[in-house]
């Protein structure tokens, strides 16, 4: 009985903060747009009795889904989001791996401090940190100022308002989510494994690919999913740093809600996004379970 209570808490949490909001969004996605408050019909009316409920359900349809699947814009926004998130995830991995490796190889007494430094940016608002990048990346920003004053370039680089700026923003913002799982799996690798590889005739650069990298794969996969999943639906970074040609589903979603005030279509976009991301999320869960079973 006590066991049940313990399990009930997280499930209740999921129910209240995930399933209920999801069903509200799902229900809106099946409605029609209306110039009203709330801006969609039908509305649920208990006064109508059983007939009213029947009437309510008969008005729900899949129209919005058919619409977004027939419109090229949504398709390319999804595809472009996945592509940007994928490339950004790979870039994050490239930056994070050496950092995590260095942390795992650092003297034990330093590791807690280094970990602290990785987490430190979380103490400042995410929004403000992304804003700060505008100051760095814009034409008369810090980066261009530095590059022109040192004479490396004569014309300022126009990074701001481009997909490159979005990559920089994503890599910067999600770096800790990549570093932490990588560090966790690299730190567990017994250094004597590398000595053994060397002893058996394997030079260090080959030992990295034959021993270190395969053993860090759980961290690589976890980190990639932790970055890829939220980056796909990212709205703030493409909105602040991206240009008009940066197509991401988060931005599309936002403009459907607030520019078009078409809540039903926006909800349908959100539901489809969730379905797209379910695959990597399930993958991530599976892997975590496998690791827990392996007890490592």
């Amino acid at each position: 009985m006590r066991r049940w209570y313990v399990i009930a808490v997280p499930y209740l949490w999921l129910l209240v903060f995930f399933l209920v909001p999801f069903f509200i969004v799902f229900r809106i996605s099946l409605s029609d747009v209306a110039t009203a408050m709330p801006p969609y019909v039908p509305n649920f009316d208990l006064a109508g009795g059983l007939a009213g409920i029947k009437d309510f359900f008969s008005q729900l349809d899949w129209e919005n889904y058919i619409f977004i699947f027939s419109d090229e814009l949504y398709y390319s926004a999804y595809w472009s989001s996945l592509k940007i998130a994928g490339i950004a995830t790979f870039l994050t991995l490239l930056v994070a791996y050496p950092v995590a490796y260095g942390m795992a190889r650092a003297p034990k007494e330093w590791q807690a401090t280094l970990m602290m430094l990785v987490i430190l940016p979380f103490w400042t608002s995410f929004l403000i940190r992304v804003y700060a990048w505008i100051g760095i990346l814009k034409n008369e920003g810090l980066l261009n100022l530095f590059l022109t004053s040192t004479g490396l370039i004569s014309e300022p680089l126009s990074i701001m308002n481009s997909t490159t700026a979005v990559y920089i923003g994503i890599v910067y913002s999600y770096l800790p989510f990549m570093i932490l799982p990588l560090y966790a799996s690299l730190e567990k690798i017994n250094p004597s494994l590398l000595e053994a590889a060397g002893d058996l005739g394997c030079p260090p650069w080959k030992a990295f690919w034959q021993v270190t990298f395969p053993l860090s794969l759980p961290g690589v996969v976890a980190g990639c999913l932790l970055v890829f999943i939220p980056a796909t639906g990212e709205f703030v970074i493409p909105d602040l740093l991206g240009g008009s040609d940066t197509l991401m589903i988060g931005k599309t979603l936002w403009s459907e809600f607030f520019n078009n005030r078409d809540w039903p279509v926006a909800s349908a976009v959100a539901v489809v996004l969730l379905l797209v991301l379910v695959v990597p999320i399930v993958l991530f869960q599976r892997m975590q379970e496998r690791q827990q079973e392996a007890g490592r």
Binding site: A196, G198, D199, G201, P203, K206, L215, A294
Partner: protein
């Protein structure tokens, strides 16, 4: 002295026979290349020192190890034995001195550039993401060997350690003893000339350890490899070794065969570390005809023992006697050279033998062993009995440090 010469002469002839095939018997059977000046050692440490900051891990070690030896580095933890081994493997660079392997100075070579040396790690260091088979073949794949050749060599190595049926398992699906054998097979598969083993049996329980010791000896004999083993277990070192180097605080204290270290330790440290020993502190009273009289407990007793070179009258020395060489009796001895009286404080019955702890006149506890060769003893020695301990002059060893 005459005895040593005969052994030296014999050993000069024996190695030819040894070279022809696997060694047939224990190292005592005349295998003694270290006594043969015409032999060149396979491994030579030349004045090797290693410091970590202020800490001196290995201090000016000079040591020769010969082909086909089963050589043990023995000492308590922190005595520098593992550092010495790791320097030979190439994981640590000596602060000063040279290491020569088969005539080549390897001091500055990286581990992967020392193909004739392989190591078995204390933690086994098995690759957790590879099967047993892949682990054993790892070293061979680095050499770019043919696939078929690798398979044959892996199969051979796994058969040697009886692991064939576990080929497809991952290390975490094996018991400690099986993992130990994978580690051994992985190093053996490369057919090194020199095998280094860092506390190879340290993680095994006692019964398994005894079994594994003989396993190691068998493999060493069959492959004809030179084994260098690091251990803190003196019994293990005694069992497997042709020679033992006893280390203390980074220095080699004594390098000799197990028998020599037991029977003729050069210091109290060695005497204590290998087996049990009783020591009487005293001073040299007189020296005559190669025998010395040691005055003990302010001259209450005088013990006779063979005088080693270099001791002088009045010098402080220690007389070391192994427990099994002391005879215990309830009657005062008649005509024995060395004897001391005391009270039995403790009796430990171990079945085949019994330990007797006797407190002698100055309050020191002396241990004597007696084999229980007959089941009925007419007068058993018991607690609080007054007893006499006696030993012949040749049983005691005079140690000056």
């Amino acid at each position: 002295m005459a005895a040593t010469e005969t052994t030296a002469a014999a050993s000069a002839a024996v190695p030819q026979h040894v070279r022809a095939g696997p060694r047939s018997a224990a190292p005592q059977s005349g295998f003694a290349p270290w006594k043969d000046p015409s032999k060149t050692p396979i491994v030579r440490f030349e004045n090797v020192t290693k410091t970590f900051g202020d800490f001196v891990a290995v201090k000016d070690c000079t040591l020769d190890i010969y082909e086909r030896e089963f050589f043990s580095l023995l000492g308590p933890s922190g005595c520098g034995k593992t550092t010495l081994l790791r320097m030979l493997a190439g994981f640590e660079k000596p602060t000063s001195g040279r290491i020569i392997v088969e005539g080549v100075d390897v001091t500055d070579l990286a581990p992967y550039d020392r193909p004739n040396i392989n190591m078995m790690f204390q933690s086994y260091a098995l690759f957790p993401h590879m099967t047993v088979e892949r682990n054993v073949g790892f070293g061979l794949r680095q050499d770019g060997m043919d696939k078929a050749d690798i398979e044959a060599r892996v199969a051979e190595a796994m058969q040697m350690v009886e692991l064939t049926k576990f080929a497809k398992r991952k290390p975490n699906q094996l018991s400690g003893g099986q993992q130990q054998r994978v580690a051994l097979a992985r190093a053996i598969a490369k057919k090194p000339r020199i095998m280094l083993l860092d506390e190879p049996l340290g993680a095994l329980d006692k019964r398994l350890r005894n079994q594994a010791q003989f396993e190691l000896m068998r493999i060493q004999e069959v492959t004809g490899t030179t084994f260098i083993i690091v251990t803190h277990d003196q019994e293990e070192a005694m069992t497997v070794s042709s020679r033992i180097a006893v280390m203390d605080h980074g220095e080699l204290v004594q390098v000799a065969t197990p028998g020599d270290i037991y029977e003729a330790p050069q210091s109290r440290y060695c005497a204590n570390f290998i087996g049990e020993v009783n020591t009487f502190e005293g001073s040299v009273d007189s020296i005559a005809d190669g025998m010395a009289d040691i005055a003990w407990a302010g001259g209450k007793n005088v013990f006779k023992a063979r005088a080693p070179d270099g001791i002088t009258k009045g010098q402080q020395v220690w007389l070391a006697i192994r427990p099994e060489k002391i005879r215990i009796s309830l009657d005062p001895p008649s005509g024995s050279v060395n004897s001391v009286a005391g009270t039995v404080n403790d009796v430990g019955y171990l079945g085949s033998i019994s330990h007797y702890h006797v407190v002698v006149e100055n309050g020191q506890r002396i241990t004597a062993l007696r084999a229980n060769s007959s089941s009925t003893v007419e007068r058993p020695i018991s607690w609080e009995d007054k007893a006499w301990l006696e030993w012949p002059a040749e049983a005691g060893i005079i140690l000056s440090r």
